[in-house]
Symmetry: C2
């Protein structure tokens, strides 16, 4: 099981945006974290499509959160970047091959698929229990403004 690497970047960016006093350009966000500017821009676009951030175009533009940091969960960011498709996709093996079950016994989802889905629900529930506000509590806004100000 693997999570897209962009998730980490996006979470750090959201934390920064939650404590910034003005929109931050994507290139600036990349410099703050020492990551690729062009690739980070891609991920920020995904966050924008998901409605988590808004882009202010033009000069002095940049990205800002659309909601209160306490109203954005880690799960929101993960799904924006990584997609909301389930990690396990049942291919209905039980209906194939010599051991195939008749269709009338397959109205209920396969037991394996049920276990996988339940585990994934646990994972999502856990991620939804932390917000950007929680993560940003330890970041000093004054320090952030100082670093951003003299850019």
């Amino acid at each position: 099981m693997k999570l897209s690497g962009g998730v980490e970047w996006a979470l750090h960016c959201c934390v920064v945006l939650s404590r910034a006093s003005a929109p931050v350009p994507s290139a600036r966000l990349a410099e703050l974290h020492g990551v690729s500017k062009t690739y980070l821009a891609k991920h920020l676009q995904a966050l924008a499509r998901a409605g988590l951030v808004r882009a202010a175009e033009g000069r002095d533009g940049g990205y800002a959160l659309t909601r209160e940091p306490a109203a954005i969960t880690v799960l929101d960011v993960v799904e924006a970047i990584d997609g909301d498709q389930p990690a396990f996709r049942c291919t209905e093996i039980r209906q194939q091959g010599e051991l195939a079950l008749p269709p009338e016994e397959c109205r209920v989802p396969c037991g394996i698929a049920r276990v996988m889905a339940e585990a994934e629900r646990s994972w999502r529930r856990s991620l939804a229990g932390t917000t950007i506000a929680d993560l940003g509590a330890s970041l000093d806004p004054a320090r952030l403004d100082r670093v951003l100000g003299r850019g």
Copy 2:
């Protein structure tokens, strides 16, 4: 987030093995489920390396479980196929770029990494709550022997 497709095959195979009265060859397991013989063989080798199944070589050989089905959890199979590496790997972004934190503030894992690790623990705990014995309860051993017997 994505789970390897072989996980599904491996789980179905373990369920079959838990209810079979004799070792089952890999080619036979593939036929039972209508999947690729050569590729399934690869996954079975992974199960063998993980110690979940044992291969009997030579004529009339095949695979069998090494333990009681009730002692093999879904998590065991998932980790055997997909690996036990965490889905989220923290790259210590907090120590990079202009906003980098000094090393002395980084003795404790980053908050983002903590949230991800906790969510993954929930996922694993959930998968460990179901065993092969649970999954195999609905498979009729008589029917399996009938299908296997006249191969």
